[in-house]
Amino acid sequence: MTLTAILFATLALVGITMVATRVIGRNAGWLAAAVLAGLAYAVGLRIPEILEDSGSGSKTVTETNPWIPSLDISLGLRLDGLSALFLIIVLGVGALVMAYSARYMSERNVHPHTGYFAWMLLFAFAMTGLVLANDLVLLFIFWELTTLCSFFLINRSGDKASAPAVRTLLVTGMGGLALLFAVVMIVVRTGTTVVSEALSHSVWSEDAAFTAGIAVLVALAAMTKSAQFPFHMWLPDAMVAPTPVSAYLHAAAMVKAGIYLMMLFSPALGGTVVWQSILITTGLITALLGAIFAMRNFDLKEIMAYSTVSQLGLIVALIGVGTPTALATAALYTLAHALFKSSLFMVVGIVDRQAGTRDIRLLHGLWRLMPVTFVTTLLAGLSMAGVFPLLGFVSKEYLLGQMLTAGEAAWVGIALTAVAVFASSTTFAYTGRILFGAFSSYRGTNRDPDPENTQRQRKDIREAKPLFVGSAFLPALIGLILGPAIAFLHPIMGAAGSAASGQAYAASFKFFGGFTIEFALSLTIIGLGVLAISQRRRLDTFFEGRILNFTAIDVVEGIRLGLLSLGAKVGNPTRTDSPTQHLATPWFIVGLVAIAAVITIPSFSTPALGGPWTDWLWLGLLVATVLPAVITKSRLVALILVGSAGFVVALWFFALGAIDVGVTQLLVELLTVVALVLILRRLPSVFHPVAKNRQVFTAAIAIGVGVLATAVTLVFTGGRDISAVGQYFLDEAYKDTGGTNVVNTILVDYRALDTFGELTVIAVAGIVLIGILRSRHMLLSRGADDSAYSNSSLARTADNTLPIRVIARWAAPVIILLSFHLFWRGHYEAGGGFIAALVGATGIALAYLGASEDRSAPVRWPYRGLLASGVIVAVLSGVWGYQVGSFLKPVRFDIALPWGGEYGFTSAMVFDLGVYLAVLAIIIAVINELGGVRPSKNQPASQAGPVLVADRYAHFIDKAEAPSDIASESEKGGSL
């Protein structure tokens, strides 16, 4: 089978098992087990290809499929001694765990919805990909996939799993990101993403700093995954997951990924001081801590978990030692651990299921009731404890040997060995706790006083079914066989050692190495262990709650919560809806730009200070109007003065030759005042007070901006002659367009698209205005106190508005004529759709202001439709332009006039009509809507149907003004 086929077979198995689960329920686990076993066998078949004929060293089989060539990412796979060994562990233990799951898990817990099989098999896929990856990026991808799988496997285990799952993800996710950083740096430095090429690159020997940096990153990644101190906490934390998950994570998958990574990188990083010191130190600390914690716990599963932490520490330390033999020993230890730990975890599950508890203080006397389980535990436990003749014995012997010879100085080796011996003795001791705790009558100390909380009645406890316990027994049995048959493993261990060390290496583990120092140490370990077991009651009391009485969970939790509160602090400065702060900050950026300007602009051109004396007058008038407008507390005064300042600005425009701009400015200013007056009556008459120091602060910003604006105008403007574009318009506008008002030709011909956007803005503003007021409660008019005159002639509204109505009636034709006049000639002289519409709109304003009561005021035109039609007309005139070649290009033709002569028509006028409609409509909308009166269309409310934004506020709006408008308010408006 090709490597790609193996990889994708594991992926396909995910889907197949999901489907199979629907049909045969949990028995699908058997199917998955069979396939995984088959795949492991297929891998085994390819092992000869990677073995050197000489018996030492390792060959590599590679396969490459393109994936994202632009980023140099490929589906490159490789098989060498190391990956073959790990792959067999992954697939083999996977098969065992799947088989075990078929009996351990209940039907409802493997239902496809729970994702159990899916995540477990995806995990197998991820591990397969990880150990096969020959592309650094691919390696990272599978690495992260294992993280995710473990997260979801833990998280799916009920409510109490949430926090552990999240912590696991955070810790291992952090490691993953370290790996990503390492991968990226390696790719950048070596220029390749191919693992084998990158790891054999010369940069490793040439750039010690780089190598050290990568060593730290890779070690970090591997340590989080392999639960090394100080990242060990997630593993016991994750014990909430079902036992098969733990078995797989601990024995073959998650934690072994870290081991694999370290061994994979050993050819490049091995031997460097950083790498060695990190790995050996943390490895041994972890081994010690794990062992001590295992002594403290009473839950079988937690003891197993800390045991894993401890055992992995030893393996990591071995990898740190880094000699070919040490690496091969690490590989052997990994295999041994996979076998005994998978067996032990499965046993724990069996005990839990059959006896109803995992607490060694409650369990007792099971060896009689569950003999097969006991034997399995005994075999696996003794292998873990490193007792002859099990496989664990061999690996422990070689571990001790490697520790003894590690380091340049002799004391290093002695120190390391001492730690290893202590950890191993403890291992022996907690193995005893397991065996005695569960199977003998020993019940430990500090038992739960609740008599109900205990294991099942003896009559209810029976041995597990063969198929169930068989999965656990098999790896234990293999551990027993492989001890004496260690030679069988030499080729693969040699290949693994070669691959990990980067040099040819032939493994030759001896089953029994004679009476060496190592053997003496082993005896010491056993002796100490037996002593500990005999003193177990005292030790239990001693460890309980005294040594290292902290849980690392608190640390992770603390960091997480610290981050969260830091986040709150980071977010707080902007956590306000008050615009002031959001509007002040941009000016600081502008200030920075100004500083940049002072630095970067080499010399400032002399500002043009000239200009007619009248210019100073406009400035004076601005000062006279603007300053009091800023200071006043009265809304009305501020409005009048700002309006006056607007007139002065219009004068500025006139003075600068911008006639149309000035006229527009004038009209817009008037309309702005009208619109604001309509809302001011709903607001208090004075502004809200502002604290003194804030006034000073904002004034400082304002003055800064003012100074900047002045400086910028002086420095940046006036430094050149008229622009080429501007000159073009002056020269060509008439020829191009037939218009003489150059500004207007720009608006409707050259840059009609701008005007098009502008009219869209107007139309949408109208729609928005209407929509807001139809859906929101508008503040009530405050109403002035005129009660004193309620019976006076002054209060006779209809009479007192009479003159306005009469005037409006007279003025209407004049205004309409003027409006059309301005519209018609806009292309040639001052005017245009906008100005014309504004003039027209004043007629409407007049009609509104002159109405005797609000109800009779509105201009009953469908202004929403008018707004829309403005846009429609403009687009259509734009599309018409395609007749002569392009969007918005004016179409010109002469229309014969009935009285003779011709009128030179241009479709720009149609466009201008769109502007006219939109502007007229928005002003009607402003007056009708903000004025608090609406046209009424007696549309039955039932037609409206369910709407999100209902006009339910109608009866709140302007009660005082329009008591009888309620019916009309319920119309949903909108359509023409």
Partner: protein, 121 residues
Amino acid sequence: MSLALSIGLLAAAGVFLVLQRGMIRIILGFVLLTHAVNLLIIAAGGIGRRDAPFIGTDTSMAADPLPQAFVLTAIVIAFAITVVLATLAVVGKGDDDTEADSSLELSDPEDSASEKSGDLK
């Protein structure tokens, strides 16, 4: 020079008002700020030439028409937005105050600071 000072004055006054409380001041501030920018754009065309750009007259001293077209568009757009702002000032719960307590703070600092480890459970 006086145009530059006018622009500076309008900008300063506009910014000051925008940074005060209440929608009306903000609206009036933006009105002034818009004036400043519009004058700046006209100034960008150069203020040495001040004749109105009409064909048929001598255009040798005619002002650059393009900035005028820009400003015309900008004025109208600003008016449209002013209308929307004005509307926003008179709907809602209170008046146009922009510093009233928002009853729906998404996340209040006290809350976050005192967050306990229990929230994962």
